[in-house]
């Protein structure tokens, strides 16, 4: 019997490099316009899962991601770093989903992968910043949750022990598997790509990606089943469409405003005595100081 660890990961627009055309009229994100990266805390989650896998000889790590077709990139990335299989959940009908609708779709995928022993995700994604999908998916899957996980401490018989990082300290908790963990960025960084695994998995593709390839390529693919990145649609998951997309999202975006970093009227000073002296005088006279 293998110990199955499912890692929930997301490919996100790199919000550290946002341009003007990134938003659509309905208030949802135009993901195609931005460079896409592996959500940072999901990489911490992947590392967490890999460490659990390393600690036993019967474990496998399965990556699940919900997104547009190009999200296959993070599945390959996970395979390079040590994951064993990947599933891309993709369908136009998922577009515009808020966290509740997203967690519904994800919970269906996880349940379809039963039996499983552990579900690990990053605490939050850098585009939505909500930290909601993990706990909501746990509720829908029907398993307990442990958030702010920082370190895998081991197993105590059939219970997993985890160190949590809280605002003013740490907590060590244990729970019987299956349980869902959300991993904080204070957890160890993900290990780098493994050269051998890169060679092995660099041609891993989803069905959509295969459609665009040549005949010779397809032959290569046939002979290597591990290159298949599984792909699931709304039909495969038997999802109730009314619970997906904009229609299945209780939260609606009423308005979006860009934060314009207006160049503040700022004064540049040197470190000279004169400049500092004047600054302190100004602060004191205006009653900011003293």
């Amino acid at each position: 019997m293998s110990f199955r660890i499912i890692v929930l990961a997301k490919q996100v627009p790199d919000t550290r490099n946002v341009g003007k055309d990134a938003m659509k009229a309905d208030g949802t994100v135009n993901r195609a316009a931005l460079p896409a990266i592996f959500n940072p805390e999901d990489l911490n989650a992947l590392e967490f899962a890999l460490r659990v896998k390393d600690s036993r000889d019967d474990a496998e790590v399965i990556i699940v991601t919900m997104g547009p077709p190009r999200a296959a990139e993070i599945i390959r990335e996970s395979l390079y770093r040590g994951a064993d299989h990947g599933y891309l959940i993709t369908d136009r009908k998922f577009a515009g989903s808020d966290t509740l609708a997203t967690s519904y779709a994800i919970s269906l995928a996880v349940k379809k992968l039963a039996p499983f022993d552990l579900v690990v995700s990053g605490r939050q994604a850098i585009d939505g910043d909500t930290a909601q999908v993990g706990p909501q998916a746990a509720e829908k899957i029907g398993i307990p949750q442990i958030t702010y996980a920082e370190e895998f401490l081991g197993f105590n018989k059939n219970k997993i022990q985890v160190k949590r990082r809280l605002e003013r300290g740490v907590e060590v908790v244990e729970a019987v598997c299956p349980v869902l963990l959300t991993v904080h960025s204070s957890a160890p960084d993900c290990r780098v790509r493994n050269a051998k695994r890169m060679m092995k998995y660099k041609h891993a593709k989803t069905d959509i990606e295969l459609q665009e390839l040549s005949e010779d390529y397809l032959e290569l693919f046939e002979s290597r089943p591990y290159l298949k990145i599984n792909q699931w649609s709304v039909e495969d998951l038997k999802a109730d469409v009314s619970l997906l997309g904009l229609g299945g999202s209780p939260t609606k975006v009423k308005k979006i405003e860009s934060v314009v970093f207006t160049q503040k009227e700022s004064k540049t000073l040197s470190d000279s005595d004169r400049d500092i002296n004047n600054l302190m005088k100004t602060l004191i006279n205006s009653h900011v100081l003293g």
Partner: protein
């Protein structure tokens, strides 16, 4: 029945957490606008008398769920009690502090109730919403306003169709304000056994090391904060020297805390505290979006950095190009000199 509900967190010391009191203050204002009641729920142990802490903030009713197994916080029992109570009481607006507890509990409850939840709101207002397609007007909705996309946009979120409308808010965002006329607070003791089941108690806490809060920089009006550029724990002494003289507190960025220069309690930013002092002196801080999220509402910002291109220069009122070991002692000297 329409009402405003606030989940009140209990601190290590057994008191209602500041963030919950801040939300009670905001909840009171929202309840007044909607002409409904403000209700609080406290789940924990040894809660006798805790309503005294809530009464000054205008809470009308407090539900107390008191049981040994409910402190410290674990998800499932709190979620069971909170969800069932909200269903019974038909909670309409629900506010939860965006702490490690709130961000664990609120989504679980929202999923159970299949309702909308908006995290880390920076502003909450009451307003209407008109949908052209169906020619429907929704009245008195909660506008949940928050930054997203790494802080690059501000979104107004609403839950027109599915209630309750849930929102989490970080500490320090709302102001804690006592009401002018204290109300008589109604206490409802919850029979915990009817709201939880044994299967809720599946996560066990084996060890817990929570430090007593030694420092609370949240309310400081003057902050001298250090980033990775300070260079060492020892170098932070310069910041303390200046802070002591000008009556300020010392803060730090996540990078400085992670590097061991300062304690987490002093961390300012998205994963630390939010501060709104009248003066923020940023020492060797580059100004990453996550840090700015915790201090960009400071009335005045001074940045001391050797890097003229650092992002913080865009939000600072004064940018001093120089080294901390040169600038800070001078600031101290000229402060003392001009204060006489």
């Amino acid at each position: 029945m329409k009402n405003v509900f606030v989940y009140c967190e209990i601190t290590e010391e057994g008191h209602i957490a500041d963030v919950s009191l801040e939300l009670c203050s905001k909840g009171r204002k929202l309840a007044d606008e909607l002409k409904v009641n403000l209700e609080a729920i406290v789940i924990g142990h040894k809660l006798k008398g805790i309503q005294e802490e809530l009464a000054p903030f205008g809470v009308d009713t407090v539900y107390l769920a008191d049981d040994k197994r409910l402190f410290p916080f674990t998800t499932l029992p709190h979620a069971s009690i909170f969800s069932k109570l909200l269903k019974e009481q038909e909670g309409d607006i629900v506010l939860v502090g965006a702490t490690s507890i709130g961000r664990d509990l609120a989504p679980r409850v929202a999923s159970t109730l299949r309702c909308g939840l908006t995290a880390d709101c920076t502003s909450l207002e009451i307003g209407d919403h008109y949908v052209k397609k169906t020619d429907t007007t929704y009245k008195d909705l909660l506008y949940q306003i928050r930054p997203a996309f790494g802080g690059n946009i501000v979104a107004t979120i609403i839950n027109p169709d599915m209630h309750p409308q849930m929102a989490t808010v970080r500490e320090g965002v709302m102001k804690k304000e006592e009401v002018k006329r204290k109300k008589l607070i109604e206490i409802v003791d919850i029979d915990v056994k009817k709201y939880v089941s044994d299967s809720d108690f599946v996560v066990n806490i084996i060890e817990r090391h929570i430090e007593a809060q030694k420092v609370n920089i949240k309310g400081a009006q003057i902050i001298v904060a250090g980033g990775y550029g300070v260079g060492s724990k020892d170098n932070f002494k310069m910041l303390y020297k200046l802070a002591d003289a000008i009556g300020g507190e010392v803060g730090a960025t996540r990078a400085a805390v992670d590097a061991g220069f300062e304690e987490h309690e002093r961390q300012i930013g998205q994963t630390g505290v939010t501060v709104r002092p009248k003066l923020y002196i940023a020492c060797g801080i580059s100004g990453a979006v996550q840090h700015r999220a915790g201090m960009d509402q400071s009335a005045q910002i001074i940045s001391i950095n050797t890097d003229e291109e650092a992002p913080i220069t865009n939000i600072a009122d004064y940018n001093i190009t120089g080294r901390l070991e040169d600038v800070l002692p001078k600031m101290l000297k000229y402060f003392k000199q001009n204060s006489k």
